[in-house]
């Protein structure tokens, strides 16, 4: 049986390694677990819907029509920021292509010299000097690169992310260099929205109770109780989170660095990225340039697949019919698994031109979002954005099983 090579054009996002999900033909990029994100969306939309239904008619008439208008503007801003944070590329680093990976390996071997047999080779670390401080760059075994400073590997999304902050399940995505400011604007505007709704709920209840009595008011507007409950709990977590991130921004630190204590402690390096000026730090983080995505999700690329001649005829007719079909769902790491395209299963996919790097388990840290280390923080505000330890353990168990 002879093999026929079929070249097909696919979009680059279909061949990207990592555990992201893509929607709208590559325009939207999220993490795999989206359940909590839907919850966030539901809570925000639901609470605001109740507010517009129950409180706004009364307040617009008795106080001012500007109240619902401002609430609407704020609500739209919150949703826009949430979607922007969730759907954008956080700053994922491209994995090294085979030639680059080999080049780096050769450099490492040259630097290590001869390691006597039986001894473990030294850890792969590169020292760089940044603003007169020595910073260690770690090697990522999954992505086969030396991580740039402040980058970290997210085990949930299985990507190295530049200026990695944390993986936020509420937003359904990592928070990194490219979407940190959207995340911050989201938490800030959500805090304002929560405070706004909470305040006007109280005002509304007070005003109505003066006329009708407290219990009657609650009977007339049952939504108020729900809103107050949601807002009360949201207030503590989101406002606290905003405060925490304001603190981090003023020091030009990431959550990841804060948790690991990279720049704190006596014998540690001082933060080399801070401008030692609060305004300058805020400037840089919030008003800095908008970095481009290096992923080029919607670019086209050639995909070569070989199929046996028996299915060649039908596959040839099937393949051109779906030029951008996201047919090859096989992860690049597992080369033996058959990929399926429309109706004809392709027996083996060979020689995919995307960076085909065997997915090795990252042996060292690479799990910055582990909430376990958040225990040492005493304030309650951290609880929301951190990944639950079980979720992270599940992800790593799933990854181990795949090997």
């Amino acid at each position: 049986m002879s093999a026929v090579m079929i070249t097909r054009k696919v979009r680059k996002w279909e061949k990207l390694p990592g555990k992201n999900t893509f929607c709208c033909d590559g325009r939207v990029m999220m993490a795999r677990q989206k359940g909590v994100f839907y919850l966030t969306l539901f809570l925000i939309v639901g609470t605001c819907a109740l507010f517009f239904a129950f409180e706004c008619p009364y307040l617009a008439v008795h106080l001012s029509p500007a109240i619902p208008v401002f609430a609407a503007v704020l609500f739209l801003f919150v949703i826009a920021m949430l979607l922007r944070t969730s759907f954008s590329d956080p700053g994922v680093l491209l994995r090294a292509r085979p030639e680059e990976a080999t080049f780096i390996e050769m450099e490492i071997e040259a630097a290590n010299g001869n390691v006597p047999a039986g001894q473990r080779p030294p850890p792969r670390i590169r020292n760089v000097q940044i603003n007169n401080q020595i910073v260690k760059l770690k090697y990522c075994y999954t992505c086969k690169i030396f991580r740039p400073p402040r980058a970290s590997h997210c085990s949930i999304c299985d990507n190295c992310v530049d200026r990695f902050d944390h993986h936020c399940p509420w937003v359904g995505n990592c928070v990194g260099k490219r979407n940190y400011r959207y995340f911050y604007m989201f938490t800030l505007s959500l805090s304002l929205l929560t405070i706004y709704i909470f305040t006007f709920d109280i005002v509304h209840v007070v005003m109505r109770s003066v006329d009708n009595g407290f219990l009657n008011t609650l009977k007339e507007t049952p939504g108020t109780v729900l809103e107050v409950l949601v807002c009360f709990f949201t207030l503590w977590s989101v406002v606290g989170l905003t405060g925490f991130h304001t603190y981090l921004i003023s020091l030009n630190q990431t959550t990841n660095e804060d948790i690991k204590g990279s720049w704190s402690g006596k014998n540690r390096v001082q933060n080399p990225y801070s401008h030692k000026n609060i305004l300058k730090n805020c400037f840089e983080v919030l008003c800095g340039p908008t970095y481009p995505s290096v992923l080029d999700r919607r670019g086209m690329m050639q995909e070569d697949s070989s199929i046996s001649s028996a299915t060649a005829v039908s596959a040839v007719s099937a393949a051109p019919a779906a030029p951008a079909a996201p047919a090859v769902s096989a992860a690049p790491a597992v080369s033996a698994s058959p990929s399926s395209s429309s109706s004809n299963p392709v027996s083996q996919t060979t020689k995919i031109t995307a960076p085909l790097i065997l997915n090795m388990h990252t042996p060292d840290d690479a799990k910055p979002s582990i909430a376990a280390s958040a225990e040492k923080r005493t304030s309650p505000k951290e609880e929301t954005p951190k990944v639950l330890p079980e979720a992270d353990a599940e992800a790593s168990v799933a990854k181990d099983k795949a090997h």
Binding site: L76, F77, A80, M81, R84, L93, L94, A96, R97, P98, E99, E100, A101, T102, F103, I104, M106, V128, Q129, I130, N131, V135, L137, I145, P148, P149, R150, R163, R181, Y182, M185, P272, Y273, F283, E284, L286, C287, G288, P289, T290, Y291, P292, V294, D296
Partner: protein, 158 residues
């Protein structure tokens, strides 16, 4: 010069890839995008040191311009924030404009300077802004020259 090519077309048709050199990022000034101007030893016989360094320095200047934090980036940021960043759907950011300039510059450099010497620079954006990949080509007609294809064949053997 070991090989002479007159333009990019000739390079692609009559040459085969012999080796690749990767110019790494220079982090001495922080996380801004800068590449090392250290001259790789593999290019010793292929191109003058000054030409190479000028190219890398110009690229560094472009990136510095793109990432500059000043009045213009502040205005762009505030304007975008006030429109809930929806303005980015219709407007091109400053960084993207500079990236286009960089792509054009690299194309020019390849045509004028690098291709005639049997070299080709890849836009760092295609490599994740991590390295400047320089491909070294050998004339297919000439027998094995000093820069062996060990790294290329080594990668397939892995």
């Amino acid at each position: 010069m070991a090989t002479e090519f007159h333009n990019l077309q000739e390079l692609r048709h009559s040459a085969s890839l012999a080796n690749k050199v990767f110019v790494q990022r220079d982090y001495s000034e922080g996380t801004t995008c800068r590449f090392q101007t250290k001259f790789p030893s593999e290019l010793e016989s292929r191109i003058e040191r000054k030409l190479f360094e000028d190219t890398v320095k110009t690229l560094n200047n472009y990136y510095a311009e793109a990432e500059k934090i000043g009045g213009q980036s502040y205005l762009e940021g505030c304007l975008a924030c006030s429109t809930a960043y929806l303005i980015f759907l219709c407007m091109e950011t400053r960084y993207e404009k500079v990236l286009k300039k960089i792509a054009k510059y690299i194309q020019e450099q390849n045509e004028k300077i690098f291709a005639p010497r049997g070299l080709l620079i890849t836009d760092p954006l295609e490599r994740g802004m991590r390295v400047i990949e320089i491909s070294i080509y050998e004339d297919r007609g000439s027998s094995g020259s000093s820069s062996g294809s060990s790294s290329v064949s080594g990668s397939t053997a892995r």
